[in-house]
């Protein structure tokens, strides 16, 4: 019987300065130091990142499928939060 897997980590890369870290995938490692090194070896071979974050998958808190309606729908019916809601004369519309 083989040993069970090492821990699952999620990997985030900042492709270059000025951009956010983006989720690129996951990998197995035991500790964060090993996870960062493996992330470097697995996910940045083509210069895809200047900065790496790794997080244990178990530490990620995610919104649930059941949350979708109460979390997101009430935010969807307030058009006055968006610029397009406000009609202005063409001459000043660039604001």
């Amino acid at each position: 019987m083989t040993l069970s897997d090492l821990q699952l980590f999620e990997v985030f890369l900042r492709p270059r300065r000025g951009l956010d870290h983006k989720h690129v995938g996951s990998l197995h490692a035991q500790d964060p130091a090993q996870a960062i090194e493996y992330a470097r070896d697995v996910y940045t071979r083509r210069g895809e990142g200047v900065s790496i974050w790794v997080v244990r998958s178990a530490d990620i808190v995610a919104s649930q499928e059941g949350d979708v309606e109460p979390f997101f729908d009430p935010l969807d019916d307030k058009p006055y939060r968006h610029a397009l809601h406000y009609k202005l004369p063409n001459s000043v519309d660039s604001m």
């Binding site: 040993l3 069970s4 090492l6 995938g25 197995h28 035991q30 090993q34 071979r45 995610a62 499928e65």
Partner: protein, 317 residues
């Protein structure tokens, strides 16, 4: 099916019909989940097992340039396996479970990798044809309905582009080389052509999962559609370097605007799938051995981490 479930199923299908992605936390039919786990994990297994026939020539690559290219290519295949295992894990299966299924034979992998690499030209043929076939399939899969699988495929396609080119370039140089080299290339082509066509799976009519997979947009094009695309592109590629595809029935069909080609030997396909291929047992045995030999290393990693954690809590406590 309960009232709630049938509503869920309708939302699920609507989402798919609208070309929206299904993400891991979404409700999905259990068969969709199982089908994806099967397909993604077998795709991953294929990448990893595929490292063996090509890895077989790294130590013998005939120039330092080719050696580096091949090592980088096989490294990419390991990475592809990894991305795919990651995608499958979002569906609730662990990498260990998938590895166990590979070892027991419950999970399959592309039978093309059950063929041996006998000459350097085989490396060219594999890059040109096997990666070529994989690319045709993978480009289509970039639009698959399951988000993590689609994103994994985009990443893989980006990396895969050099794989086919380097293989074709090997064949190009051999075909323009000495008589022995040209013969080596033609021989490799002769051995890998039909198995490459088999990579696209059975004819649509004979494919068990096809219809459902198309409805759920796991699959975007049929086996035969993809296979035809591959044949059409390969004929031109072979002509360009003066090699002959080993199919006497290959002929341009003006009415269809495609190449007609000969019938695949489905017995050979079955044989290679069910352990009759020359390297079938060797591939799994090798994978099992590497896994077994790695166990003490993985155990050490875990033990070390536990010791570190214990020391940390002792010093804090």
């Amino acid at each position: 099916m309960s009232r709630d479930e049938s509503t869920e199923l309708k939302h699920f299908q609507d989402r798919i019909d609208a070309e929206e992605k299904v993400e891991p936390k979404d409700w999905m039919p259990e068969r969709y989940r199982q089908q994806l786990i099967r397909q993604i994990s077998q795709h991953a297994h294929s990448e990893v097992i595929g490292m063996q026939p090509e890895g077989n020539w790294i130590t013998r690559a005939p120039t330092l340039h080719r050696k580096s290219i091949l090592l980088a290519k096989v490294q990419d295949e390991a990475g592809h396996g990894l991305y795919l295992y990651s995608a499958a894990e979002t569906l609730g299966v662990s990498r260990q479970e998938m590895t166990d299924a590979l070892h027991s034979g419950a999970a399959k992998y592309a039978s093309i990798f059950n063929y041996p690499t006998l000459t350097w030209a085989d490396i060219g043929a594999i890059g040109w044809l096997v990666d070529g076939a994989a690319i045709v399939n993978q480009i289509s899969l970039q639009r698959t309905s399951f988000g993590p699988y689609a994103r994994g495929m985009v990443r893989i396609c980006r990396e895969e582009s050099f794989h086919q080119r380097q293989g074709y370039q090997i064949m190009m140089v051999l075909a323009a080389g000495s008589g022995e080299q040209k013969a080596m290339a033609q021989d490799a082509l002769n051995r890998f052509w039909w198995p490459s066509l088999m990579m696209f799976g059975p004819h649509d009519a004979a494919s068990a999962h096809s219809a459902q997979n198309m409805t759920w947009k796991i699959k975007r094009q049929t086996n035969d559609e993809l296979r035809q695309k591959f044949v059409d592109q390969s004929v031109l590629q072979a002509e360009a370097i003066g090699l002959v595809l080993p199919d006497p029935d290959l002929k341009w069909n003006a009415a269809r605007a495609h190449y007609d080609f000969g019938e695949i030997d489905w017995n050979e396909f079955q044989r290679s799938m069910t352990g009759g291929g020359p390297c079938s047992r060797q591939r799994i045995a090798h994978h099992k051995q590497a896994d077994a030999e790695g166990e003490w290393v993985r155990a050490a990693v875990v033990a070390h981490d536990h010791k570190q954690a214990a020391q940390l809590s002792t010093s804090r406590g």
